[in-house]
Symmetry: C2
Subunit: 331 residues, 2 copies
Amino acid sequence: MPLGSEDALLARLTRHFPTGHPSLLLGRGDDCAVLRSGGPFCVSADLFLEDVHFRRRYFTPQEAGYKALAVNLSDLAACGARPTAFTLCLGLPPDVDDDWLEGFFEGMGRLAAQQRMVLAGGDLARADKIHVSITVWGDASGPGGFLARGGSMPGDSLFVIGSLGLARVGLAVLEAEGRAALDAWPAACAAHLTPAPQIDAGLTLARAGVNGRPPTLMDVSDGLARDLPRLLGGTAEHGGLGAEIVLPEGLLHPEVVRHARLRRLSPVGQAFLGGEDYALLGACAPDLLPALHAALPGMNTIGTVTATGRVCCNGEPVPENAGFDHFAHPA
Amino acid sequence: MPLGSEDALLARLTRHFPTGHPSLLLGRGDDCAVLRSGGPFCVSADLFLEDVHFRRRYFTPQEAGYKALAVNLSDLAACGARPTAFTLCLGLPPDVDDDWLEGFFEGMGRLAAQQRMVLAGGDLARADKIHVSITVWGDASGPGGFLARGGSMPGDSLFVIGSLGLARVGLAVLEAEGRAALDAWPAACAAHLTPAPQIDAGLTLARAGVNGRPPTLMDVSDGLARDLPRLLGGTAEHGGLGAEIVLPEGLLHPEVVRHARLRRLSPVGQAFLGGEDYALLGACAPDLLPALHAALPGMNTIGTVTATGRVCCNGEPVPENAGFDHFAHPA
């Protein structure tokens, strides 16, 4: 069934994305939406492109819609912000039909509803491939304000919330086997298809900093090898911070270990390269750890910030820029 | 010269888009930007896609960068908002080189600087064609607040600010002749390549409503025939408002008249169909007109809101949906 007119498509959108929201003064359908604001807000924008970030071959439309929004929410989580609204720009090729779009809106709408976010605007156009571009807003006026990457100090404890390397395994097996891979690699496939944004953990971490030096925080989207130096503000070349990472194999998901062993690779090395995990990575003063571990059972400490200007993992130096560069390695 | 890594590209971006801005608490380079907010803000998002919205064949990179942002600013103008910030998502094919990108950032950066906007974030990825997706926001906390489409009343005067139909002529001649068309159709080509967002006019109109019923306002992006019913909130089928438009040929740009005559078409009819003019269209109580005409020399009254539920232009009824539908007529 071919897509109808722009108006029909907008009617479909409205069914999945209600327009009422406490922070909305003027909803979709005007030139702009108008949002109320109670203070500082966080903003992030991400692309989600067919055959670059996802493939229709093994993403259901629901999963594609879900993930397109989830990767943006991960950025809000990394700032300790509470999601409020988003805009959606959508380029659609002629072979996308009503059923696909219905599923896509359903998957995205369910996540938006769960996070109490309103779709504040967007645009639609024809394109050669499915092209999703989302900008999200979040409220950063809660207790503790927002969290940033900068400000780690030597002696700080490094922690992660979420799996390392699992999404990378999911990508590899889905590319190789399509959805048949879900049988043998269910957790890895889920980590790639429907990553869970760590919004609640981000809010908890923001509150933890309210009476002292707040944690530093970011989301791990390009792998620990590439993202950790970013948290530390650049390492050797900036005469800056380093890290001693202790990443025991026991901390890794069994599917990560099994996948690496099958390929005769180091499970820890693979987890360190990671990519698209959307885990949170942060650092905090060690005296914050007991309260954080109690509030966040999924949190794992993985090492210590140093003043050495270089990153070591299990005693081995890690080369910079070992992770994933969307531009250097086009899909 | 091929593009460098993502980091090199970000360095290039930074040269054209400075990160400091009064409303920015945390700039680019973190997971989110954090913005200060003094009250309600307007949000809009638009796609600007190669071979849908622009062609490299006749857009210089500077013009493409300028227009990608300008079409978004037009939405802020239509709400009477003052631009503050934007996010930029960019998909780039392998045949875009450093020189093209430099020009693109230059054109966009110049407009951003002129409007005192900060680039708050974004994303980059490989794509098959150039894909630009921008979300803008603007401050709506000035005197008069924001303007919306709804609220026109029978007897209100309809007005436009900007040319009608000129950009449509520009598109036609550029498609037919490429940049050679600039010789014979300079104004029409400029209207398509570098449309001027009517930010100052929008702010003036917002202030005009501070002590009474504010004007209604929208930007004409799909042509008057399609957009006027939107301003009126749907016409016949909703038992709603109509309009009597008086559009003398003398109000049209000479290039619009000349182009229609060459094709033996009605200049007024062509101007009414329009498309991508990014003019402002609004309605206000007639007693506001003298002050508005004094403040906005480029404003033209073009008719009156009626209670008839249908739109007439120069005495002829205009069929609904006669304008431009991005989905019904893919480029």
